[in-house]
């Protein structure tokens, strides 16, 4: 089946981002297709490449990044959620005169139209917040 996963929760504030990651990994393991990952609201922090964790602690954004790359997933962070939370890609960073982009390049900044598209083209939409 085709799934879209929507993540509203920031890492390290609640368990939900971890649950979303485990669920997505389990979906792929079972042979299902992930049509899109959509990070919304505080969920955009899951795509922050400047995340530093202790060596014995899971780096959730890095885990997402690897899962996305390893499985060639389509991952989107909502533009209106991400910019106001400091999640910018290289071109947004340049436009706003920041030193560097904060977003992993495995995720793309886009609008809510991408969520609507994902909703209409997926068999299941599963939300984690």
């Amino acid at each position: 089946m085709k799934f879209t996963i929507v993540v509203y929760a920031a890492p390290y504030s609640s368990e939900a981002a971890h649950s979303a990651l485990q669920f997505t990994a389990a979906l792929l393991k079972a042979g299902h297709e992930v049509y899109r990952l959509f990070f919304f609201g505080d969920g955009v922090h899951n795509a922050n490449r400047f995340t530093v964790t202790a060596t014995d602690e899971e780096n959730l954004p890095l885990s997402w990044h690897r899962l996305i790359l390893d499985n060639n997933l389509d991952a989107v962070v909502c533009v209106s959620s991400s910019l106001k939370r400091g999640l910018v890609d290289a071109s947004e960073a340049k436009r706003h005169d920041f030193d560097a982009g904060t977003l992993f390049d495995s995720s793309e900044i886009a609008g809510l139209g991408q969520l609507v598209d994902a909703t209409t083209n997926s068999d299941r939409v599963v939300n984690f917040g």
Binding site: V6, G41, V116, T120, N121
Partner: protein
């Protein structure tokens, strides 16, 4: 946009303490813009979004009650407000920004069953 879907938003959060109410509204309006069949339900603390006389400028926010009035402008006509949530919060229909019909849990339950996708926040 290949398939038109029957999508229900259940807005359960008060307007300003978290951003959930705004996120829920933004998603619904986006779905409406892209021509989906959208239903909107106010449940639990979500009914506080409909309270008259909000002036969110006092906390440097936009008043959500005004935005709610946009639902019908975007073609979202099926708006349900849970009567039990209103009653337990001592709210009357006259306290609200919209002229609404209250529904009971069986109506909401039937809508959820009929929906292709439900966003609940």
């Amino acid at each position: 946009m290949t398939h038109k879907k029957f999508i229900t938003f259940v807005s359960r959060s008060a307007p300003y303490g978290t951003h959930n109410a705004q996120l829920c509204l933004d998603m619904a309006l986006a779905c409406a813009v892209f021509d989906q069949e959208v239903n909107y339900v106010f449940l639990d603390d979500g009914v506080y979004q409909l309270k008259r006389e909000q002036r969110a400028a006092a906390i440097k926010r936009k008043t959500l009650g005004n935005a709610i009035e946009a639902l019908s402008l975007y073609g979202i006509e099926n708006i349900m407000v849970d009567g039990a949530s209103m009653q337990s919060r001592a709210l009357q229909v006259a306290d609200l920004v919209l002229p609404v019909t209250l529904v009971d849990r069986a109506d909401i339950s039937a809508l959820l069953q009929a929906s292709d996708v439900v966003f609940n926040l």
